[in-house]
């Protein structure tokens, strides 16, 4: 049996489970906030075109609008200034084989529960590798924080007077993943691949800066990471083919062997 036939029969027979890592797109889902004088991403909005009525008697459909970075979404390298001149850096030019890759899931849920500003360090990653093996090149590294279980938007965003408090990687961890482990990208459950207070790191927003600067990708607002094994899952994350797009909302799926 070919690998693909095996995959198909595994899916049909339930030996391979498909786990949805995507948040539902809805107007209530929190959107990224920038200082009010700056340009803003559109939140997800939906307007009914017709619903079996005088506007369209036999059909129901909607128009929706949102920014490229809305809900569960993909960050392309061109999103950040550090990745602006790279080849194949936008949603339409990234080679499609990059949209499918193995995933390593680092469980930081206990740490994040204790400290919303928790930063994933290089030593946390080395600890992970001691237990689960070396992170293979071209893997997604997904940071599990159980942040997606914060269903109250205020808790999810977690703002105070000093801004947002959400977990993310520190500078060394990002540099290590890019330079030493050649990862495909980095994914989180919160808004942003960087921590809420990452503006104060050096450089600011290191995950955006180094990942995109090296042509790697980001995934954020993921959910159900608690259903993935530390290694062995395969993630399918294909953004919309927006010409020169900096990112896109997308459906992120994980294939898991039972």
């Amino acid at each position: 049996m070919s690998v693909l036939a095996e995959l198909a029969s595994g899916l049909a027979g339930g030996k391979i489970r498909v786990i949805d890592l995507t948040q539902t797109l809805s107007p209530e889902f929190p959107s990224i906030s920038l200082p009010p004088e700056m340009g803003q991403a559109w939140p997800f909005r939906i307007e009914e075109v017709s619903r079996y009525d005088e506007r369209g008697p036999a059909w129901y459909w909607n128009n929706f609008s949102c920014g490229e970075h809305t809900g569960t979404h993909f960050d392309a390298p061109v999103h950040w200034i550090s990745g602006k001149d790279l080849p194949h850096n936008a949603t339409d030019s990234i080679p499609p084989e990059r949209f499918i890759g193995p995933a390593c899931v680092i469980d930081c849920s206990k740490e994040a529960a204790k400290d919303p500003d928790f930063l994933l360090t290089k030593s946390h990653i080395e600890e992970f590798e001691k237990r689960h093996g070396r992170i293979a090149p071209r893997s997604w590294v997904l940071m599990r924080t159980d942040w997606s279980k914060r269903h109250d938007p205020a808790e999810y965003q977690n703002y105070d007077e000093e801004g947002q408090h959400t977990p993310g990687p520190d500078v060394e961890a990002v540099k290590f993943l890019v330079a030493e482990r050649d990862v495909l990208g980095f994914g989180t459950e919160s808004i942003g691949t960087d921590a809420g207070q990452a503006y104060h790191l050096r450089p600011p927003y290191p995950c955006h800066y180094y990942m995109h600067g090296a042509g790697r990708y980001g995934l954020q607002c993921l959910t159900n990471l608690d259903q993935l094994p530390p290694t062995g899952a395969v993630v399918i994350a294909a953004p919309l083919k927006i010409r020169n797009g900096s990112g896109s909302p997308l459906r992120v799926l994980a294939l898991v062997h039972e």
């Binding site: 209530e28 906030s33 803003q40 939140p43 009914e48 999810y156 703002y159």
Partner: protein
């Protein structure tokens, strides 16, 4: 006035009716002044005689040059009567009704709706009735306690007392001042909307402590949110105060792209449209729902709706669009007797007008003016000296104001 009893939920809600609305074009001069809270009558330019009712030629010298001019609004009650029968649907449902003849100090004798406490000397006001047309009301010459509670007077005003109000944005200083003002006007309930509920705002805790206040997430750019909130409360809302606005200080050339302008349109124009589509129908059905009926819809516009202020050019354009839509809403709400009140402030003293030199209208003063307009039954509100001055300039010569604002 006692707090009205709770409505018996098994009884039918009466449909709204309107008092007689036909007026000649000339007579609309009285309405135009009343909409601003002014008492104006025609005065002959040739012989000086003050005219009433409005007419084409002077009743004394037949001159056709009659100017609408502010008149002293006082007089003496000559005669009074109480109406116990009427074939007019509106008055039929509101009998008995007190009417009288008032000899104005400025000359003419007028038919007036009488406040229950009037004596010999009276103050008169031109007020808009439920049909949106001017009538003359006679009030006691000195303020009496609970004067605004008069049953007949409440038919001409939009008094928030014992009414339930939705304020669409509680995040701003104006929103919070409005809430305080409404609560002290004895409003029954104030629903307070706030967008982006994950961003806690200054003043939230204080608002939460006010017993009349219910805080509700409301983002007027989200149709689903507006629809669901309306489904929940629109059947109870008597007054909508739509103060949600998006304000950035850009013209055309100093901001790339359309995103800022679009955000302004989305809140200032489409936000009003969404609210009106979802809250309008339920309010129209309750235009005659007892002494605390649905009664008013307030729009926070801007003096820049009349003439563009180029440094805030896209904001001005969105407010002009909202003004136009508010006129449509006014026409659609009028059959139910629900008044649309448009507020045209000059620059508000807030962060988006930081770089404008004073005078700027203080949020508390603006809130007072808005609630005051509801209590007085005014339809077009130009709060404060700046707005009044700009209104005068605009009425005198719109082209001149355009040039002055763009200087």
């Amino acid at each position: 006035m006692q707090r009205p009893k709770r409505k018996n939920p098994v009884l039918r809600t009466r449909l709204p009716t309107l008092p007689p609305a036909a007026r000649s074009r000339v007579a609309l001069g009285l309405t135009a002044a009343a909409a601003l809270g002014r008492f104006e009558l025609q005065q002959c330019r040739d012989c000086g005689a003050v005219q009433y009712p409005p007419r084409e030629a002077c009743q004394k010298c037949l001159s056709v040059v009659l100017d609408w001019k502010a008149q002293p609004a006082e007089g003496e009650l000559l005669a009074q009567t109480v109406l116990h029968h009427s074939n007019d649907l509106f008055f039929r449902e509101r009998l008995p009704w007190r009417l009288g003849l008032v000899k104005l100090d400025c000359g003419p004798t007028v038919v007036a709706h009488l406040h229950e406490a009037v004596q010999k000397r009276v103050r008169v006001r031109a007020m808009l009735d439920r049909a949106g047309q001017a009538v003359i009301a006679a009030l006691p010459d000195k303020e009496t306690t609970d004067m605004a509670d008069d049953r007949q007077l409440r038919e001409f005003t939009c008094d928030p007392k014992h009414r339930k109000v939705l304020v669409t944005d509680g995040k701003t200083a104006l929103g919070q001042a409005l809430i305080k003002e409404l609560v002290s006007a004895k409003t029954e309930i104030v629903w307070v909307g706030y967008a982006e509920p994950w961003k806690k705002f200054a003043g939230f805790d204080e608002l939460e402590k006010i017993p009349q206040v219910t805080l509700i997430p409301l983002d007027v750019t989200d149709s689903k949110n507006v629809r669901e909130l309306a489904a929940e409360i629109a059947g109870k809302v008597d007054i909508v105060v739509n103060n949600a606005e998006h304000h950035r200080s850009f013209g055309i050339g100093n901001r790339q792209g359309v995103e800022t302008a679009r955000a302004e349109m989305d809140v200032n124009y489409f936000g009003l449209l969404r609210l009106a589509q979802e809250f309008g129908p339920a309010m129209r059905s309750r235009g005659a729902d007892g002494s605390s009926s649905a009664v008013a819809w307030v729009n926070l516009l801007s003096i820049y709706a009349l003439a563009n202020f180029p440094p805030h050019g896209t904001f001005s354009a969105s407010k002009a669009a909202a003004h136009s839509l508010a006129q449509c809403l006014r026409a659609e709400m009028r059959p139910a007797g629900v008044r649309v009140v448009n507020v045209f402030p000059g620059p508000i003293d807030d962060e988006w007008n930081q770089l404008l030199p004073p005078p700027k209208v203080a949020p508390a003063a603006l809130a007072k003016a808005i609630v005051g307009a509801l209590r007085e039954g005014i339809e077009d509100v130009y709060p404060g000296d700046v707005a009044q001055e700009w209104l005068a300039r605009w009425r005198d010569n719109p082209k001149a104001l355009e040039r002055e604002l763009s200087a």
